[in-house]
């Protein structure tokens, strides 16, 4: 795995044909300037990273490069030719394809039919030939090395295989330029490695990628060139080898030293051994884990990590009452909680940031104030009548405390950017002044700056004497923890205290012992 791609010397790369190019791009939505004099040039056979904070203009640029939006000014060229008209969708599809975070696979149909949806091979004019469709699908998948069965329903594929099917579908339509929009958002690190292996192979076979990601590690792992946008402007384009991590973060945030994670490198005073035990998990078993036991003291932050199927998330969800274990015992601040009951966990003093803000975190139509106060509605007035003044006052404190960018408590939460939405979820977790915080992927899909703000909350929680369980597979999140517990195949596999190295932790997560590469 993890083999480095053939390096592309800069001189070589600079001489290559430019597959897709945009320059002088300007786009406004009403008074908001989404892009201002932005340029990008993607050369044949390279993987080009496009990075920037939420709201920097990445999505708008992708919409323009895929012909979904027309720029107010500037030109888009493919292979030196002007882009086709917006109405000519087929011409666009031959030049560029975008694999979005949201899957466009139809789960009930087979892989073969997904590949040829709405252009099924036919016999005698209009009759669909299933045999020819399967044969064509097999040939396409073999040619590009996608190892999936063309006859199975696509819904049963792993996320990374489904992405590969989407990529193969784009290739079969004739495009050799593919935009990957945060392709790793729902993948664990092993699946990410597999996806990267595929991407590198396709790249060697002549496919050009524009790669959009929040994870800078990925940029260094797969891309050769990076373009940075900030506040609707083009900042820089450079070979990744010439741009260090801190310089890249600086280009994205416009701040010096923004790469430093709060608390990283600082030797924290460990919580006193006589600090009260805030969470005691004892011989907890369920469909996703067996005999898990650990304790977290007040004022201590414990990371819990593992591959997607390791059960780490489910253990944390059990503590928050979101997951019902079969047996075992969970005590919060000395009191046992009822298994699988959110209400019981809340009453015991657990605040939770659930795994996915869209799924379990937020009610999009409701306001910032309502979402943030959802767990404490009973405390905002007598007999269940909600005092608007109390709620808004609470919401304002949350907005100020977490630095949420919003018009005010009444704004529907769906209108907020991803990072600010996640802060609202964090506000909800803190609403009941919990003694225990359970944070599941607290920084997933948010920009660098929001990430720092969210991790700062963990530090403040520690200072306030709260216990915290942080479930994450991002090393930056885990670095803020006093201890890291690693789960593998449903059991606790290892424990690390401050001072672990990336290599040993990743090796432990992957279950390859403590050896190094």
């Amino acid at each position: 795995m993890n083999q480095t791609p053939p390096t592309h010397p800069r001189a070589d790369g600079a001489g290559r044909r430019i597959v897709a190019e945009a320059h002088g791009i300007r786009k406004r939505y009403g008074p908001t300037v989404a892009l201002d004099d932005v340029r990008i040039a993607v050369r044949a056979g390279e993987s080009h990273a496009l990075v920037g904070r939420n709201g920097a203009g990445k999505s708008t640029l992708v919409a323009i490069l895929t012909g979904l939006q027309r720029p107010d000014r500037g030109v888009v060229l493919f292979d030196g030719e002007p882009a086709p008209g917006l109405a000519d969708r087929e011409a666009w599809q031959r030049r560029v394809a975008c694999v979005y975070q949201q899957s466009t696979i139809i789960p009930e149909l087979t892989v073969a039919e997904n590949l040829y949806v709405n252009r099924q091979p036919t016999v005698r004019g209009r009759v669909i030939s299933w045999r020819r469709m399967r044969a064509a699908a097999r040939e396409l998948l073999d040619e590009w090395g996608v190892e999936v069965d063309e006859t199975v329903p696509a819904g049963g594929l792993t996320v990374e295989d489904a992405k590969m099917v989407e990529i193969a579908r784009s290739i079969s339509r004739g495009t050799r330029f593919i935009i990957l929009d945060e392709p790793t958002a729902q993948l664990d690190s092993r699946a990410i490695d597999r996806l990267f292996t595929h991407v590198r192979r396709l790249q060697r076979a002549g496919i050009t990628f524009l790669y959009i990601s929040h994870h800078l590690e990925e940029v260094y792992a797969v891309c050769q060139v990076v373009t940075v946008l900030r506040d609707a402007h083009w900042i820089t384009t450079a070979p990744v080898g010439e741009l260090g991590r801190s310089e890249l973060v600086q280009a994205m945030t416009g701040e010096r030293g923004a790469g430093a994670v709060p608390g990283f490198g600082v030797i924290r005073s460990r919580p006193a051994d006589d600090a009260p035990v805030a969470v005691r998990v004892d011989r907890l078993s369920g469909p996703h884990f067996t005999e898990v036991g650990f304790t977290v003291r007040s004022g201590e932050t414990v990371g819990l990590t593992g591959l997607a199927g390791s059960g780490s998330r489910q253990v944390a969800e059990a503590v928050a009452g979101l997951y019902r274990p079969d047996s075992g015992r969970i005590e919060v601040l000395g009191r046992p909680t009822r298994p699988g009951s959110v209400a019981s966990a809340l009453a015991a003093g657990v605040g939770c940031v659930p795994r996915d803000r869209h799924h379990e975190g937020l009610v999009p139509e409701l306001s910032v104030a309502e979402n943030a106060s959802m767990t404490i509605m009973d405390r905002l007035g007598r007999l269940g009548v909600i005092s608007r003044r109390a709620r808004d006052a609470f919401a304002r404190r949350t907005i100020t405390g977490l630095d949420i960018t919003t018009d005010g408590p009444a704004q529907p939460v769906k209108d907020l950017s991803g990072g600010n939405q996640q802060k609202v979820v964090m506000g909800r977790a803190l609403a009941n002044d919990p003694g225990v915080l359970v944070l599941i992927n607290p920084t997933a899909g948010v920009d660098v700056k929001s990430k720092r703000a969210l991790l700062a909350v963990v530090d403040r929680a520690r200072a306030a004497g709260r216990a915290a369980i942080v479930v994450s597979d991002e090393l930056a999140d885990l670095r803020t923890c006093d201890r890291v517990l690693v789960m593998f195949n449903g059991s606790l596999a290892a424990e690390y205290s401050v001072g672990w190295t990336d290599e040993e932790l990743v090796a432990s997560i992957e279950g390859v012992g403590t050896g190094h590469e």
Binding site: Y29, A63, N420, R428
Partner: protein
């Protein structure tokens, strides 16, 4: 990608997407609630111009009292829809529940059960029957996790069938006066049914806005897993809403019986389509979590005035249905244009 309104510098720094349309975001909520107001006003003007008796007090009261049964049913359906559920059986509850109450009280000679229970008991049976049917619907939908559309569709057919079987072609009318009071008496010059419907809307509207249970209905309809993660007992909320809906439908049935002065096996039949039309043109989303009772009430008033106008204009009764349906479609289009948002 609809950043339109001006925005000032933000403390977070940078033109963050979060500051999109600050003014419109708030205004839009209001507009969606009152999207039908122009249509209702237009209808008032048309009515006033085309028929001098339209704006008379008696006629307007007539519109209100004729709409009150529909209003109670729309109120029930609106709350159920906001919670993310659906109930197609309300129209049959409106037929069966009052019939049960009637038949428990009236003598066998007048097509009753022959039990001849006291009036108060018969009156009590009616809302209880509605609530009980709501409990059964909840059991099937919430506990057994069956599809709500098909469960309540089947329930609708079953309840109608039970009513037809019970009544077996007769008409129930010889009931004590108390049974007809809700649909026929006046209080302070205004029909009791209008007072009751108005009070129900006021209480429910207030609770949906200011009580945590009401906000829980919106949260569950908007995103049930998120509501659950916040400690809201989503299943209980959905169940409770179905029970309240059944009770309100039974009450609506009593209003209809009082207006007509009798109950037959057809009571409430096909009314559910009008109920959905009123709720949806009033801005209630079929996907849950969206809409307000103010909007639903405007939907009821619009349809009530429409029916009244068509009758006053002496449109041939053979054509009234086609025109009624066409105007509902137009009202939907007007609501779509006023809000600028698609209806799901």
């Amino acid at each position: 990608m609809n950043d339109t309104a001006p925005n000032g510098p933000t403390p977070g720094g940078g033109p963050d997407l979060a500051v999109r349309r600050p003014v419109r975001a708030i205004a839009l909520g209001r507009i969606r609630d009152l999207a039908l107001l122009p249509a209702v006003l237009l209808l008032l003007v048309i009515g006033a111009v085309s028929n001098e008796s339209f704006l008379e007090r008696d006629n307007l009261l007539n519109v209100l009292s004729a709409s009150s049964a529909l209003g109670l049913l729309v109120l029930a359906e609106a709350v159920i829809l906001i919670s993310g559920k659906i109930d197609l059986s309300l129209e049959s509850i409106a037929g069966l529940a009052p019939a049960l109450g009637f038949m428990a009280v009236i003598p066998a000679a007048s097509a009753g059960f022959g039990s001849e229970l006291p009036s108060w008991f018969g009156l009590l049976i009616i809302p209880l029957a509605g609530a009980l049917i709501g409990v059964v619907n909840g059991l099937l939908i919430v506990k057994l996790q069956l599809n709500g559309f098909i469960v309540t569709l089947a329930m609708n057919i079953v309840l109608r069938g039970v009513l037809v079987g019970m009544v077996s072609g007769k008409t129930l009318f010889e009931a004590p006066a108390a049974f007809f009071a809700l649909g026929s008496e006046n209080w302070l010059g205004v029909p009791v049914s209008v007072w009751v419907t108005g009070a129900c809307f006021a209480v429910a509207g207030w609770a949906l806005h200011y009580h945590r249970l009401g906000r829980a209905v919106y949260a569950v309809g908007g995103n049930a897993p998120a509501a659950r993660a916040a400690g809201i007992r989503a299943d209980r909320v959905a169940w409770g809403v179905l029970v309240i809906g059944g009770t309100l439908a039974a009450l609506a049935g009593l209003v209809i019986a009082g207006r007509v002065g009798a109950i037959n096996a057809n009571q409430g039949q096909d009314l559910i389509f009008t109920v959905f039309a009123a709720a949806v043109i009033g801005g209630i989303s079929l996907n849950g979590g969206k809409g307000s009772l103010a909007g639903a009430l405007l939907g009821v008033l619009l349809l009530g005035m429409l029916e009244n106008l068509l009758t006053l204009a002496q449109v041939s009764s053979f054509w009234i249905q086609a025109i009624y349906g066409a105007i509902i479609l137009v009202a939907l289009m007007i609501a779509r244009l006023t809000t600028g948002e698609g209806q799901e």
